[in-house]
């Protein structure tokens, strides 16, 4: 029976190589990532509850205040948290998960199979997309129900929401994958990745109104994607009058697209050149 099952010695095996379709492998990888994520209960709770919790705390403290320009703080803060949620579910998620998988040998195992390397990244991107989408719905729901968040009422703003969101997580996904090249191992990953995320949140206008930050802080933030994502989200949730409060006096949609696009391409180039399937201790 074994001989038939394994059939290794059969010299008559197909001479022309017909790999499984790329699409089928992508689907399998996406399912592996999603199943693994959903079944890790702590990770699910943390990923979804943390931004909501932050929203509740900040909302309770500052919720009734208005910011300059006659806008409710909730409106500014929800826009910031939406951008921060996208950043966490892409950059932070992958920046920490990939080094752990590299340590455990999961990546080495995959590298020893004929799986196309792109399938691993497609699986991760699928996970990021699903996590980000669920998180967005939660944040919007909490914002509307508890803090009187006004949802955009015209299609063009929803369109802005969509492209800023998609381009933002794409850029931050590549940023996260590229960053893993500079993380030594799984244990040190949170210590490297989390501070980057937290500092960027503070200087990019998530917790504080961007316009009131010191000039140098605004300048530093402008080099990173999160600032542009929060700005993009403000353009979705705040009235156009508020543009006068922005550093450039406008929403700068073209520049948002440009910076996020550069991060996407740059991150991709770095990731392709530096990605390792084994950790350094393994040679």
């Amino acid at each position: 029976m074994t001989a038939e099952l394994i059939g290794a010695a059969t010299p008559a095996r197909a001479t022309d190589y017909r790999p499984p379709s790329l699409l089928s492998v992508y689907r399998v990888r996406a399912m592996v990532e999603l199943k693994t994520f959903v079944r890790e209960r702590e990770a699910v709770v943390f990923t979804f509850a943390f931004p909501v919790l932050l929203l509740v705390i900040f909302g309770a403290v500052f919720g009734r205040q208005d910011v300059d320009g006659g806008v409710k703080f909730a409106q500014v803060f929800v826009a910031g948290m939406i951008a921060a949620g996208l950043f966490a579910s892409s950059f932070q998620n992958l920046g920490i998960a990939i080094p752990i998988e590299r340590d455990s040998g999961a990546l080495k195992r995959l590298a020893g199979t004929p799986m196309p390397p792109s399938a691993y990244f497609v699986g991760k991107i699928a996970l990021v997309a699903v996590v980000a989408a669920v998180q967005q719905v939660l944040l919007l729901a909490v914002g509307v129900l508890f803090y009187g968040l006004d949802l955009p009422d015209d299609g063009s703003r929803w369109l802005t929401y969509l492209w800023v969101g998609v381009l933002g997580i794409s850029a931050c996904t590549m940023f996260g994958i590229a960053a893993t090249a500079f993380v030594k191992n799984g244990r040190s990953a949170p210590a490297v990745i989390s501070p980057i995320a937290i500092v960027l949140q503070f200087i990019s206008g998530v917790f504080f109104v961007f316009a009131v930050l010191p000039q140098w802080m605004q300048t530093v933030a402008a080099f990173f994607p999160l600032k542009w994502m929060t700005q993009g989200m403000r353009s979705v949730f705040l009235p156009d009058d508020y543009q006068s409060q922005e550093p450039a006096g406008s929403w700068e949609h073209a520049r948002i697209a440009l910076v996020l696009g550069l991060w996407l391409v740059g991150g991709l180039l770095v990731a392709v050149r530096t990605f390792r399937w084994r950790n350094k201790a393994d040679g």
Partner: protein, 285 residues
């Protein structure tokens, strides 16, 4: 199709000026179970990982199934199976079931076994729906093997597959390897267990300091088959020991001396594979 599965000549690999593999030559024939023996740091794992395509080499020629593993393609990888030495991904926070693991890896290969058949073959049928993190060490190792053979490899690398097994689990595992070998799979086995190599391998190679010291069938390695035997028995005046090239004659003489009756505690011993191995690598006899 060539009858050689692996051909290595003059393999060199240096880490920070220290040669881990130093002019290693090796030929593994198709369909044979070939075992690499050697102390830690002898260059076994480095050699195997070069053959698997994981590591680059500094010199020498390598052909695995007719291809250079340094230029591994998906097509080539589909023809080999790898059971790595130390991977924790099945234990660490893996929430996939045995079946999900096997089916997902099967999806990467062009012509895989049916996942349930592979699970059956490694004896995990009743654990099919268990999450891999809940398996015992031995069961996880069998899942490792299921993932290694799911693509129906022509050549299977087994790197210390039974480390940490209890004796019963090891015997079961040997049965599995024997059935794979019977099916025609070429197997390259590295192990620390000499009884394992003796039981499974058609030929063994002893490697030390990055070179092959000797290659041969386990029964003849190091002149074992023709080496002097030791005969031991208890006489009226206590234990005796005699080293001889003609143990049969000695036993006959002893039998006569004891009047054709039983010779007390008679033992005839050839040097074990372990004795030969330890002598080769320069360890204690």
């Amino acid at each position: 199709m060539s009858d050689v599965a692996i051909r290595v000549s003059g393999l060199q690999k240096t880490y920070q000026g220290r040669a881990a593999v130093d002019g290693l030559d090796l030929t593994v024939r198709r369909g044979e179970v070939f075992s690499l023996l050697g102390p830690n740091g002898a260059g076994k794992s480095t050699t195997v990982e070069i053959l698997e395509g994981y590591r680059s080499r500094d010199g020498g020629d390598v052909a695995v199934l007719g291809h250079d593993p340094a230029e591994a393609t998906a097509e080539w990888k589909a023809r080999i199976g790898i059971v790595l030495q130390r991977v924790d991904d099945l234990a660490q926070s893996s929430e996939l079931t045995v079946r999900e693991w096997v089916s997902s890896v099967a999806a990467y290969f062009p012509d895989p076994m049916r996942p349930d058949d592979a699970i059956e073959l490694v004896g995990l049928a009743d654990k099919r729906d268990a999450r891999s993190s809940s398996l015992s060490g031995g069961q996880r190792r069998r899942l490792d093997v299921a993932l290694g053979i799911i693509g129906r490899p022509e050549l299977l690398f087994l790197d210390e597959p039974t480390t940490g097994f209890d004796p019963e689990a090891r015997r079961q595992f040997w049965g599995l390897i024997e059935s794979l070998a019977d099916a025609g799979t070429t197997i390259l086995l590295t192990t620390h267990y000499l009884d394992e190599a003796e039981r499974l391998a058609d030929r063994v190679a002893v490697i030390n300091a990055g070179r092959i010291i000797e290659v041969g069938a386990p029964a003849t390695l190091g002149g074992r088959a023709t080496a002097a035997a030791t005969v031991r028995w208890i006489g009226a005046d206590g234990p005796h020991e005699l080293t001889t090239d003609e143990p049969t004659r000695t036993v006959l003489e002893l039998a006569a001396r004891f009047g054709g009756g039983e010779v007390p505690e008679l033992v005839v011993e050839r040097p074990s594979l372990e004795d030969v191995y330890l002598r080769m690598i320069g360890g204690p006899e």
